[in-house]
Amino acid sequence: MSMNLKVALFGIAREIVGQPTLEMVAPEGQSAQGLLQDLHARYPALARLSSLAVAVNNEYAADDTPLREHDEIALIPPVSGG
């Protein structure tokens, strides 16, 4: 089984990927870390960032957080507000 994920991109991650959202097909139960591994493979420049987190429904996700089809998923490069 697979699921469709929509990943929002911001800042330098958006620039590296070249678009503000990515539609991805992922295996059912894909973890946040699994998603990052897929993205690092497709966009090697993402792996060179100081950090890259996954957010699910406005919260930072742990590595093993399972993703679900209707989650609001986002890639969070190093924040620099303030």
């Binding site: 800042g11 100081s50 957010a55 406005n58 986002a74 490069p77 924040v79 620099s80 507000g81 303030g82």
Partner: protein
Amino acid sequence: MLRLRSAGRSFLLTHLLSSLIHIDLTDQPIDVPTALRSVEADGAGAINTFIGTVRNQSTGRPVVRLEYEAYDSMALHQLRKVAEQAAERWPMLQKVTVVHRKGTLYIGDVAVVVAVSTPHRAESFAACQYIIDTLKQVVTIWKKEFYEDGDVWVAAHP
């Protein structure tokens, strides 16, 4: 005035918090006097305010302008969480206001204002500093610096 524990937050408490914590993310210039007035309280003898402005240089390189980009819904959610954490840690906190700007900013423009009020002064400094320090670690806002000859996403690379 804010007295809460991490777990078992009641409806009343949530309601109280939302009336004492004011969070905003705006693409308009921040009105600093309004932000300060918003934390006034008869039980507060101390107000501490941090204002972050755009400097004319960054690590020695002249800055022309900045652009702030935000993941709005998460930034607002995380800003509120940071303010609530401060209210848990300093239960005497009276009011908290955090306003962050987004969009294009020039030298001297105000990027962020944090204002807190407490009965006594030491806690106003500690809570305000906790909020701005934590904001910079967790809130989903990104700053791009523009120089005469290029631009950089701040903190993006090691």
